[in-house]
């Protein structure tokens, strides 16, 4: 049940409540002042202004404010509306939300100026009682003005906007606008969408949900037929074979215009022009250019691919970095007396890996210091007993800080603490199980929902069922741990534990042919690569970022050359990041999340800017460069067709509301209360006045 008003405009009179307070303060200042012959001595005293603005006679002030409040409320003619008396419909008002596109495609020609003009014109056309809100959007929607009648404010917020560097996402914007209008009781509700209506701005079938009582009106800017070519993708591939020092660059160019274009494609490495090519691009053509035999020289190379300026300059540059030492650091820990050829299969498989390549090191526990662990992205504990103490704790910290751990179980026994609440193993390793003579266990398919099974490189998961497992060690998973694969006797084959930012995978059999023939199967290589990439979180980062992404700097650093120092440093000092615009951002190592706001190179320094450690290349999303537009009329039709019914809110007409108010006559009660308050106020004010007059006067 709520309170509604017949004359809500009278509520503006509540601003009068400030009057008694002001009068009270002013009167207090005046009434309590006195003329004094000289301030000579008073000025010598360190006076305090403490009580100057204190409000006195609180009760009197409260009574006066309350009195004013009640009078205003009585004039507004209140009545109770509840389930039986619904909220009143404002027949005279219309509420609209202007949704304005500020994605970077609005930089083409004069699109943004047009959009601003349309929005300002919509504001100018509104009636005085109409309310307008403004939502600006790119890939995120931001309410820059709530519903308001104030046209001047609306003009100001619209004029302050500028197109950004992000892509278009119309759905988020329309839904944000619909939320703004959800609380409106205006008779007419509209969403006024001002955009270039790029087709890339909305996925097929991904229509925004608006309410049926809301009208969507599209205002499209007129796109000039400006010639635009863009760099739609850049990919860097290390050269095949042993010549890891060189790499190949593939650049994909698209001519978005309807006429042939002649463009010059330039490649600059570390600030020096490496090559320029002149290209003829037919209308709508997608052309791939390859630069091969490129060498990163000292280790890390920063590359810029560029085209000549055209209708939209932002998409004519692409940034990339490449390092010939871009190998993931991986540590294999064996027992002090490994089996012959225990690590051969594993190492061979790692040597063949390209994306990423691995820098492999083998050590035993006694060759390892706890502080060294953070130097590696992934650690493989290959059938050896994990010690407790400092090394055990360091391993746990390594995983918690985002490291990946692959543990294979074999003949070595594992302590039970490793799987307790504080440990990092997904279950307690128990006794070994052997297949009956002449038989072997098979491994069932991987959990289909797990990233290991649904990898970006192939549509199917590695087929582990071809492997014959002769022995495995039973594992009792804890609650919260995830089993990824079972043997065909229901024993756990592969299990995972997430520990803060990192994870541990346990394979309950060996990686060498001691307990199985897995290493000899075709699935071994893809499985191993996929598992290690997954553990390192390799899929979570890329060599290039797009504006709007958030880069986890530490994880990225692990994959890049020269990053070991940052990873291993583990000091408390923050990372210093120099953005392309030379702005400096400081990041804590524990939460090194860097928002990518602009295209170019982000340089991560360790302590001083002179000491460049890691470089991130950031580009804009090339999809935004595609000028193909939606069929606006059809788009609006589709939205309205999929609109959800308006919530069943019964709305009163003004006449009905007046009837309710007449029945309830609340204003009588309010006025009566005001009269009582007036009486009280008079009595109290009289008492105060008597007290004041009793104070001795001063003659001047």
């Amino acid at each position: 049940m709520g309170l509604s008003w017949i004359n809500p405009l009278y509520l503006a009179g509540l601003s009068l409540l400030a009057l008694p307070i002001l009068i009270h303060l002013v009167q207090r200042q005046q009434a309590s002042g006195i003329k004094f012959p000289s301030l000579m001595f008073l000025r010598q005293i360190q006076w305090r202004e403490k009580r100057r603005l204190e409000i006195r006679h609180w009760l009197l002030l409260l009574l006066r404010c309350l009195l004013l409040l009640l009078v205003v409320l009585a004039f507004a003619r209140p009545f109770l509306s509840g389930e039986s008396t619904p909220a009143m419909l404002d027949l005279e008002r219309s509420d609209s939300v202007i949704v304005i596109d500020r994605s970077y495609s609005m930089r083409i020609s004069d699109s943004w100026q047009q959009a601003q003009q349309i929005a300002l014109q919509l504001v100018d056309e509104k009636q005085a009682q109409d309310r307008i809100g403004v939502v600006a959007f790119d890939d995120e929607a931001e309410v820059i003005s709530d519903l308001t009648e104030n046209a001047a404010n609306l003009r100001t917020v619209i004029e302050r906007q500028a197109p950004g560097l992000r892509t278009t996402r119309i759905r988020a914007a329309l839904e944000q606008a619909a939320r703004l209008l959800a609380g409106s009781n205006a008779q007419r509700k509209r969403i006024l969408l001002v955009s270039d209506f790029q087709a890339a701005g909305i996925a097929r079938g991904d229509l925004p949900l608006v309410s049926q009582d809301t009208e969507v009106v599209a205002h499209a800017v007129k796109l000039a037929d400006s010639a635009n070519t863009s760099i739609s993708s850049v990919s860097v591939t290390p050269s095949a074979g042993d010549n890891n020092d060189e790499f190949t660059l593939s650049v994909e160019l698209t001519n978005h215009s309807a006429k042939p274009m002649v463009q010059r494609l330039g490649l600059a490495l570390d600030g020096r022009i490496f090559e320029r090519r002149e290209l003829n691009l037919p209308p709508g053509a997608v052309v791939t250019q390859t630069f091969s035999g490129l060498s990163p020289g000292a280790g890390l190379v920063r590359g810029v691919v560029s085209l000549d300026d055209d209708g939209l300059t932002l998409d004519n540059r692409a940034y990339f970095v490449y390092s010939n030492q871009q190998k993931m650091p991986l540590l294999i820990i064996e027992g002090s007396r490994p089996r012959s050829n225990q690590g051969v299969y594993l190492e061979s498989a790692l040597r063949l890996a390209r994306d990423p390549a691995f820098r492999v090191e083998r050590r035993s526990w006694n060759q390892l210091e706890p502080s060294e662990l953070s130097s590696w992205a992934v650690i493989v504990i290959d059938d050896t007993t994990i010690p407790g103490g400092d090394i055990g704790n360091a391993l746990r910290d390594f995983v918690a800080a985002g490291g990946g751990l692959l543990v294979t179980l074999g003949t070595a026994q594992q302590d039970s603490w490793l799987s307790t609440g504080d440990g990092f193993l997904p279950g307690k390793p128990q006794r070994p199980v052997d297949a009956r003579s002449g038989t072997a266990f098979g491994i069932r398919a991987l959990d289909a929902d797990h990233p290991l099974a649904a990898n970006r490189d192939s549509r199917t998961a590695p087929n582990l069922s071809t492997a014959s497992i002769f022995s495995y060690r039973t594992l009792q998973p804890n609650a919260g741990d995830r089993v990824l694969a079972y043997y065909d006797d229901d024993g756990v084959a592969l299990a995972e534990r997430q520990l803060e930012q990192g994870k541990t995978l346990v394979l309950t059999t060996t990686l060498d042919p001691h307990w199985n023939d897995f290493a000899l199967q075709p699935a071994f290589l893809p499985f191993l690569h996929r598992a290690l990439r997954y553990l390192a979180g390799y899929d979570a980062y890329r060599r290039e970022f797009e504006v709007g992404d958030i880069a986890y700097v530490m994880r990225y650093a692990r994959a890049q050359a020269g990053s070991d120092a940052i990873v291993a440093g583990a000091s408390a000092a923050p990372l210093i990041v120099e953005a392309p615009s030379t702005d400096i951002v400081r990041l804590q190592r524990q939460q090194a999340l860097l928002p990518i706001d602009e295209p170019g190179f982000y340089q991560v320094h360790r302590a001083t800017p002179a000491d460049v450690e890691v470089v991130l290349a950031a580009n804009i999303d090339p999809a935004e460069a595609n000028p193909r537009t939606l069929d606006v009329a059809r788009f609006v039709e589709e939205i309205m067709a999929s609109a959800k019914p308006a919530p069943p809110v019964e709305i009163l007409t003004r006449r009905q509301a007046a009837d309710y108010e007449q029945q309830q006559q609340l204003w009588h009660l309010v006025l009566l209360a005001a009269l009582v308050l007036l009486l009280l106020e008079a009595l109290l004010a009289n008492r105060v006045a008597v007290k004041r007059s009793a104070r001795p006067g001063v003659k001047t």
């Binding site: 200042q29 006195i34 012959p37 009580r51």
Partner: protein
């Protein structure tokens, strides 16, 4: 008509007139008489300096001279009218120097400081008149406002001037007092009546100007009881009477510190003026005027005996 009031233990046995009563009397001469006649007879000897009955010279009778002062013996011998003049008639000039700055126009008691100063000046003039001294009046604020040169016949003019005095401008001491000091042609008795709102270091050189040519200087320092105690209740701001500038205060918290400053100022003036052989009389305007005069004149009489 007058309601005597027992002074608050200052002079046992004496009954003094409440300043409130004085404010009800329109006639300043009557005020002066009421104040002075009440106690002057109790003094054994006229306290004012220059009182003498030594014969000085004869001079020709002028219309308006008191016929009782005609020397009839000389008339019998010479058939001409001569009047006798005595030393006392020519020795003492009384200069009443009255501060009429705006700060004097303040009073929480029966009379404002200016009214009190008028009564005081009138009373002193009356005493002097009785002693046949010459009476003059100089009023000043930031400049000299009015000058009535000393004369035996200027008593009424002084009273008249006092009667229509109104407080005006801002206080300033150095300039006006210097000019007054320079204007005093012969040795005089100078009575300065003021609230003395200025730092002691500025006041002393200014007041010292009045002691030129061996003038005898008496300073009446008038303050209202509120100026001594700052008992302003819940007053939160004060406005300077002269400059109009306002100052927010928490009077209750400042009282003690304020009173100490005023007392220190007063004590310093008393010490430094006393060292310069200036009579300093601090006067709270709630005190009966005759009590103040009685005390002062008694002191003067005692001092004159020892001088």
């Amino acid at each position: 008509m007058l309601r005597p009031k027992e002074a608050q233990g200052q002079i046992p046995g004496q009954r003094f007139i409440d300043p409130e009563v004085l404010t009800r009397i329109d006639n300043l001469e009557l005020v002066a008489r009421s104040v002075v006649d009440g106690f002057i007879s109790g003094l054994h000897q006229s306290p004012m300096l220059g009182m003498s009955v030594d014969f000085a010279e004869h001079r020709s009778y002028m219309p308006g001279d008191d016929v009782r002062r005609i020397d009839w013996r000389v008339f019998a011998r010479t058939d001409r009218l001569y009047v006798k003049e005595f030393e006392a008639d020519t020795n003492a000039n009384l200069h009443l120097v009255l501060d009429i700055s705006k700060s004097m126009d303040f009073g929480s008691a029966a009379a404002t400081k200016l009214e009190y100063a008028k009564f005081l000046a009138a009373s002193l003039a009356y005493v002097s008149k009785r002693q046949r001294d010459r009476i003059g009046l100089i009023t000043f604020d930031s400049d000299i406002v009015e000058v009535i040169p000393p004369s035996i016949r200027h008593f009424n003019a002084v009273l008249h001037a006092l009667d229509r005095l109104e407080a005006g401008g801002r206080s300033e001491y150095h300039g006006p007092l210097q000019r007054i000091g320079e204007s005093l042609r012969r040795r005089s008795l100078v009575v300065l009546i003021s609230d003395l709102y200025a730092p002691v270091e500025q006041l002393l050189p200014a007041i010292d100007q009045l002691r030129q040519r061996g003038n005898d200087l008496i300073v009446f320092h008038l303050l209202d009881p509120l100026e001594l105690s700052l008992e302003l209740g819940d007053v939160t701001s004060v406005e300077d009477l002269e400059s109009g500038s306002r100052l927010p205060i928490a009077a209750a918290q400042l009282q003690q510190e304020y009173s100490q400053l005023v007392r220190a100022h007063q004590a310093e003036l008393e010490r430094r003026l006393g060292a310069n052989r200036v009579d300093y009389i601090f006067t709270d305007t709630s005190q009966p005027l005759d009590s103040v005069l009685y005390r002062y004149l008694s002191d003067r009489e005692r001092q004159s005996r020892t001088r």
